[in-house]
């Protein structure tokens, strides 16, 4: 496991929509684990397939016996984009910023979206290895973010 990272500031300014677990409880464990600085991915207890985002049934074997597994938090950049045009008032002075799509080789290559912490103008190549960073927000949620490993 990577050491617990505490971001000194947020990757993006406050005011973007805050993540909230679904009312039916489908992804409650994901957001609660992030709060504990643990990265978890849904995994089927029958056929061991990982899936993300979560669903009530396993897409591979259709079992509803699915659980959550803690994973290492090491990944690699599968794709990325540098955003220049703000489409939300909170982002007006935050551009450019970097959004990365990270695949997790030890979790069936499921992917997660996050921000890459650091200089957004720096060049980035697909395949770059990254490591999870947990970004605690005062309003009571934690975002899963990424930094170069």
């Amino acid at each position: 496991m990577p050491s617990e990272q505490h971001a000194t500031k947020y990757a993006l300014p406050e005011g973007l929509p805050a993540p909230q677990a679904t009312r039916d409880g489908l992804d409650k464990e994901f957001w609660e684990a992030a709060r504990r600085h643990q990265l978890v991915v849904q995994r089927c207890n029958e056929c061991a397939t990982f899936q993300f985002g979560p669903e009530w049934i396993c897409h591979h074997c259709r079992s509803s016996n699915v659980g959550w597994e803690r994973v290492s938090g090491r990944g690699r950049v599968y794709s990325w984009e540098r955003v220049w045009h703000p489409v939300h008032p909170a982002l007006r002075d935050a551009c450019p910023y970097m959004v990365v799509l990270v695949e997790l080789p030890d979790a069936g290559n499921v992917r997660m979206v996050g921000n890459l912490i650091g200089d957004a103008r720096e060049e980035l190549t697909i395949g770059t290895t990254v490591e999870v960073v947990f970004e605690d927000h005062e309003q009571g949620f934690t975002l899963v973010q990424w930094k170069r490993a």
């Binding site: 990757a11 993006l12 973007l16 929509p17 805050a18 993540p19 909230q20 677990a21 679904t22 009312r23 992804d27 957001w31 899936q51 993300f52 985002g53 897409h59 599968y78 794709s79 990325w80 984009e81 540098r82 955003v83 220049w84 045009h85 489409v87 939300h88 008032p89 982002l91 935050a94 450019p96 910023y97 959004v99 799509l101 499921v110 992917r111 997660m112 979206v113 996050g114 921000n115 697909i126 975002l143």
Partner: protein, 388 residues
Amino acid sequence: MMNTIKDKVAICGIGETKYYKRGTAPVPEFRLACEAIIKAAGDAGIAVTDIDGFASYSNERNDASRVATALGLPHFSFSNMFWGGGGGGGSGAVANAAAAVAAGYAKYVVVFRALAQGQFGRFGQAAPAKSISGDFAYTLPYGLMSPAQMFAMRVRRFMHEHHVEQEAFAAVALAAYHHAQYNPRAVMYGRPLTREAYYESRWIVEPFHLYDCCLENDGAAACIVTTAERARDLKPKPAYLMAAAQGSDYRQNAPAHNAPDYATSNFKTLAPRLFEMAEIGPQDVDVLQAYENFTGGVVMSLVEHGFCDADAVMGFCTYENFAWPNGKLPLNTSGGNLAECYMHGLELVLEAVRQVRGTSTCQVKDAEISMVVSGPMVTPVSSLILHG
């Protein structure tokens, strides 16, 4: 032999309002919808009261029952909405209309789309929610919220896998603006685009410059679908449907960008079905209208419909190949979503009809087979092929 709609159905009328810049339509969206439908009936040479069915696709805000009531239609026999996001349903709505008339559910089904973004919100702006749950909770808090941002991620991966460079996208934008200069309906008529201006335009989100992104417009478009038999008795030359198909590949809607085949515009399983039904290949297509939410998706959809190999994009996707009149594959000959107007791609169907009628402002010489691709990178998507 497949049991298909091939040659059984035709588009017999097309109509559109003036296309306005975003937020400048002088009348409400609902009235635009009615105007386009009345014009399409006029073009077909049928009475408005002959229309007895409606088909549209996602985001259409104008309820068919209200339209039928407002227009005083005596028979309302069929209504249908195509699922999915944005422009994926443009050809699919025509396909659904075709199925309805072929099956005898209705005689004249109108496919329509109306947009007045001054009256409603913009599609390119994020909703001002304080919190978000479900699939969007994995993307919105990271500032990944607009369509451009959703699709740039796929396009970047496609560029990586197939060594595709920005110039392929520039070619799509330059051809669209070139064609719009001949089309007085086009919002960008009289506003030519140079390669320098394309590259110097600001980034929206890499790899999309400003000119890689579709317009936002007000207006409405409509076309009327009927049986080939009825269409033959009407005044305009029928645009016969050779094939239409809709669909999506394996788990393309997986949340948080987890589609297993990610660098795709989602036509890989659809395209073979489409060409099998039409009994032609991509080499037989004379002119193509390919939905451009963003230029990168056009390039991907050309590859997936077999117009060129993924690894040969840089040789095929050139301004010279796309530009009328000398291009090998004239592309988006009205200016399309980038430069004619953004009617969620229904304007592309109207242009495909004009091409087989011989009435386009960038008329491809002897065009017989005219094709539309609707939707890239959303799910489901759809395509159709017409002949004259």
